[in-house]
Amino acid sequence: MILKAWDKSMNFAEEKPLKSLIKIRPRKSAKIIRIAGGKNARLILGQLGIGVGSEVKVLRNAPFAGPILLENSGTSVAIGRGIAAKIIVEEI
């Protein structure tokens, strides 16, 4: 028990682990570190103001491996799971 808590606090002190956007739970925010998709995917996301460095909030996850609903500077954007999996983020 103590060991676990210690382990957790150690993790916290270190750099936060990078994960895919689909791993972020609803109502949590994350900062985008990298977008591993192709150029077109980056452009389409960029048009909606979503890019490396953006802070987004996950609003909800659709069931049956459906899309993820994000909030980014006041706009709701639905992103399919395929693209979302390629967005690498850091939870904040």
Binding site: A41, L43, I44, G46, Q47, A65, A78, G80
Partner: protein, 523 residues
């Protein structure tokens, strides 16, 4: 005076256009309603303006053919003025396009539309300050209620007549990136000798963004030399920012936009109402689907009940008229037969078609204008994957229930060519309102509403199968859904009325005369 209306999808360009030009351009609460340019000459305070309503575009970096088309038309057709229509409640996201438009050196007005919606969200915008920062006039409108539209065109006129000192300021990026842009701009000024419609700074930015279209133009003009320089500077930029070259400048614009946003916007407490809470149910993982099914069942059921009631009532009226005519004339005579078939043609339209068509179109308009369709796309994404498409493809399909032509045109909101082809095929198989009338008027009338419903269910199976076969034939992977989900809007009575008429008109002026002539000749 030639004016272009440009702006991001769902900002209300067409609503603004319609409020001055009469209902000519389709509007709805989903991104990408306008698929082609609508032109109109309008007279405001005695001046004639030629106004062109553009399809919505998020930026001038084209991600698909339609956007490339918009950009080229915009740049090449020399407008006297561009009106940049912005959804005031989404200003932060909309300003990057404004920044791009400013690079084009056209006279420009920024319009903050849907100003009431922004106020409702507690967003207070200092328009004077925004105008000062950008160096161009900023106007506010509520186009759906026709507020501020007249003032807008007065400003437009004074700007065109050069009575207004509206010159877009040069808004610079951060120093390091700005130096790269300037270096390329100067290089282009020296080495790119071809005459071009594009300002050199705009061209430099697009080249640095790795825009295929401009790279092709430039390299076909001056060969390898410029391409090399562009590649070199792109590398420099990637090193500066640690981002891929195609997103450095887009994110730079976004950062500038957010900076301006912070300077001019005060966010108070939003008036929370049903809109915010509604999505918790409508997009819920269980209730969402229950609502979706109930909405569709209720939609068709109400149309059937309402339609058949009115149909029976009107048909009995025509029967009485028939009987009366038979008593007045010789029933086997030519005149009676002629008049009777003529009446059948008319009664077919009035009593059988319109009672179903009118509630159907009103219902579809309301669903569109509230903003329900993007939610349907969200809910259906996972299912659409089963047939090799993604959620966005459901929007053209649903529009197909109204008419298949706009449905096929609406496939422009999809990003890949493959998705467009499959969706276009599928959309054309949806029973449009004219086909629905046959289903309602004949199947439901003679066999009962459950059979009519069964036809729709069968149709969905046929479509799913077709989709599956087509996507097996085109196994390319599509990039997936990236779609803005707009806030709910209450549909305005006048817009619903005008839009329904806009759609019925086609039936009345095209299909109905054919119906009358055919029923006449069959007899």
């Amino acid at each position: 005076m030639k004016i272009g209306l440009i702006g991001q999808p769902n900002a209300g360009k067409s609503t603004l256009f319609n409020s001055v030009a009469g209902y000519k351009s389709a509007t709805s609460n989903l991104p990408g309603t306008t698929v082609n340019y609508t032109k109109s000459k309008v007279r405001i305070n005695g001046d004639v303006f030629e106004i062109i309503d553009f399809p919505g575009t998020y930026s001038l970096s084209a991600t698909n053919d339609a956007e490339a088309e918009v950009r080229n038309y915009l740049i090449e057709s020399h407008f006297d003025l561009i009106i940049d229509v912005i959804d005031a409640s989404q200003m932060g996201r909309s300003l990057p396009l404004t920044l791009e438009l400013m690079e084009l050196n056209f006279p420009l007005i920024v319009v903050l539309n849907m100003f009431d919606e922004a106020q409702r969200k507690g967003i207070e915008i200092d328009t004077g300050k925004l105008s000062e920062i950008l160096g161009i006039p900023v106007q506010t409108t509520i186009a759906s209620k026709n507020i501020g539209v007249k003032e807008l065109f007065l400003t437009a006129k004074s700007l065109i007549k050069k009575q207004h000192p509206g010159k877009a300021k040069k808004i610079l990026c951060q120093r390091d990136v700005e130096e790269v842009i300037e270096e390329l701009e100067q290089y282009l000024n020296r080495n790119y000798t071809r005459k071009t419609d594009y300002p050199s700074r705009f061209l430099a930015i697009k080249l640095l963004e790795d825009d295929d279209y401009f790279l092709k133009i430039v390299s076909s003009g001056n060969g390898v030399k410029i391409s090399k320089k562009v590649a070199e500077l792109q590398k420099k930029m990637v090193k500066l920012r640690g981002k891929p070259q195609d997103s450095v400048l887009a994110m730079e614009r976004h950062a500038i936009a957010m900076d301006i946003y912070d300077q001019v916007v005060k966010i108070g407490s939003p008036r929370r109402d049903w809109r915010e809470k509604l999505d918790n149910i409508v997009m819920h993982k269980v209730f969402g689907y229950l609502i979706l099914v109930s909405v569709l069942v209720a939609f068709f059921y109400i149309i059937f009940v309402l339609g058949s009631f009115v149909e029976d009532f009107l048909l009995s009226g025509f029967d009485i008229l028939d009987a009366w005519l038979a008593s007045q004339m010789n029933p086997s005579g030519f005149v009676f037969q002629f008049v009777k078939s003529f009446i059948w043609g008319i009664s077919g339209g009035i009593a059988i078609v319109l009672p179903y068509l009118i509630p159907f179109l009103i219902g579809l308009t309301i669903l569109e204008d509230i903003g329900y369709l993007p939610r349907v796309a969200y809910l259906m994404d996972a299912f659409m994957h089963r047939i090799g498409l993604h959620g966005t493809s459901i929007i053209p399909a649903v529009l197909g229930y109204g008419c298949n032509v706009p449905a096929v045109m609406a496939t422009r909101i999809l990003t890949s060519r493959r998705d467009k082809i499959i969706s276009a095929v599928i959309s054309s198989m949806i029973p449009c309102s004219a086909r629905s009338i046959v289903i309602f008027g004949l199947v439901a009338h003679y066999l009962g509403p459950m059979w009519a419903f069964a036809i729709y269910v069968l149709n969905i199976f046929v479509i799913a199968l077709t989709g599956k076969i087509l996507s097996a034939l085109m196994p390319e992977v599509s990039p997936g859904m990236v779609m803005e989900v707009p806030s709910y809007r209450l549909p305005s009575y006048t817009v619903v009325k005008k839009k329904t008429w806009f759609r019925i008109k086609e039936f009345v002026v095209v299909a109905w005369p054919i119906l009358i002539i055919i029923s006449r000749s069959i007899n």
